[in-house]
């Protein structure tokens, strides 16, 4: 465990599991947490809406189980906290900063390719949340081939492939845990404003044309900003549209 590992947060290393998100949910039901759970290998890794997430050994698959105060909308702000923390950690470990950018809401891009996926799950409980699980996958040594992802999606890349830097999953865990704690402290002190500002400072395609696909519609427009709830603000010919959930295509 690294010297700057956040106090009071557990560190669980598993050789293998189905998904660390599912493991977090099981542990939450037993009253555990907060803790980080890292798995060497996932047998059933998944992304948004059940998309498979290829989880070979050597890549990073981890989930932070936490019990945040506040309602589900505030819990969802951890999407940005997690993306910023992961960026901080990878910048520190690779020594590269300009190569990394953020794609709404929480994808990390490396040289314009998708190097990570972050998916959060919360369980509601009478206006608040019982627990929140922040799942982070990073292509450290291997990325799926472009034909394994959806047509039109950002092409996947790996840290090793793009930078030549080989990072061990546990080393990334030891960097991302304190980075998350630091961003979380910023959220606790200053609310979403400092997180929002930091996120926008590293945002990809801000002011440029993007496409937002939701379950039922597709909207084109200029990526204007993110609002105080974190929702994407799209400038369309008919005015500004605020979008809380969508797949973004460039």
């Amino acid at each position: 465990m690294s010297a700057d590992w956040p106090e009071g947060v557990g560190r669980v290393i598993l050789a293998e599991t189905d998904t660390t998100l599912a493991e977090a949910a099981r542990r939450a039901a037993l009253g555990e947490g907060p803790c980080w759970i890292l798995a060497g290998f996932q047998t059933a890794g998944r992304g948004r809406r059940g998309r498979p997430w290829v989880s070979p050994r050597g890549n990073f698959h981890a989930t932070l189980l936490m019990r945040p105060k506040g309602g589900p909308s505030e819990a969802a702000l951890r999407s940005f906290v997690a993306a910023l923390a992961l960026r901080d950690a990878l910048v520190r470990l690779t020594g590269l900063s300009q190569a990394f950018a953020l794609k709404w809401p929480n994808d990390l891009l490396l040289n314009g390719g998708k190097v990570s996926g972050i998916l959060l799950e919360s369980l509601g409980s009478q206006g608040g949340v019982d627990h929140l699980a922040v799942g982070i996958g990073v292509n450290l040594i291997a990325a799926p081939s472009p034909d394994q992802v959806e047509p039109g999606a950002v092409p996947p890349v790996s840290v090793l492939g793009e930078t030549g830097v080989r990072i061990a999953p546990e080393a990334l865990l030891d960097a991302v845990a304190p980075a998350f704690a630091a961003q979380e402290a910023a959220l606790a002190q200053g609310g979403f404003a400092p997180i929002r500002a930091a996120w926008l400072a590293h945002a990809a395609r801000l002011g440029e044309a993007i496409t937002a696909r939701t379950g039922t519609t597709t909207r084109h427009g200029i990526f204007d900003t993110i609002d105080p709830s974190g929702a994407l603000v799209l400038r369309t010919p008919t005015g500004l549209e605020t979008i809380p959930a969508a797949d973004i295509h460039f």
Partner: protein, 165 residues
């Protein structure tokens, strides 16, 4: 990438009509852009039905009969107002703005269906915002009487999602 075709349009319009009925709306307008110079604009309108019930008057019985037959005064309903599901005592409302999903992922069975008996804490649906999947638990045990949202559609804070009695 989905190819925009006639069949899909018909299915889409049909889904809108169902949405209209299900949520007791009178009008729904949607514009879908498929690409340059390829869009679909639909407006579905339902003639608002006259919902006001005809006042029912109970004429006094012409002759007093056996007292056992004296009817309790009929509850007089005021002008029937369109029912607001959010005010229903069994309503489960959305704790956040986002997109509603009735199943864990596309192609899997929904968490619950109308008529299902649920236990307290059982997941009813997911509301997504900022790639956070928030599971909405049943606030109490009961039976799912109505599902007021369709899969993949946006919901507002406080929107009624389901009625559980």
């Amino acid at each position: 990438m989905t190819k925009h075709n006639h069949e899909a349009d018909v299915a889409f319009i049909q889904a809108l009509a169902e949405l209209l009925n299900k949520n007791e709306l009178t009008e729904l307008a949607v514009k879908r852009e498929y690409g340059e110079d390829d869009s679909l604009e639909v407006r579905v309108v339902k003639q608002a039905a006259v919902v006001q019930a005809a006042p029912v008057s109970y004429a006094p019985a012409p002759m007093a009969q056996a007292p056992a037959h004296v009817a309790a005064p009929a509850p007089v309903a005021g002008p029937a107002s369109p029912e607001d599901p959010a005010q229903h005592p069994g309503a489960v409302t959305s704790p956040m703005v986002g997109t509603a999903y009735l199943a864990a992922e596309p192609g899997t069975p929904p968490f619950v269906a109308v008529g299902a008996v649920v236990t307290e804490g059982q997941t009813l649906m997911i509301i997504e915002a900022m790639k956070t999947m928030n599971h909405i638990p049943a606030p109490r045990a009961g039976t799912v009487k109505r599902i007021l949202v369709t899969d993949g559609t946006p919901v507002e804070y406080g929107s009624p999602l389901m009625i559980i009695e």
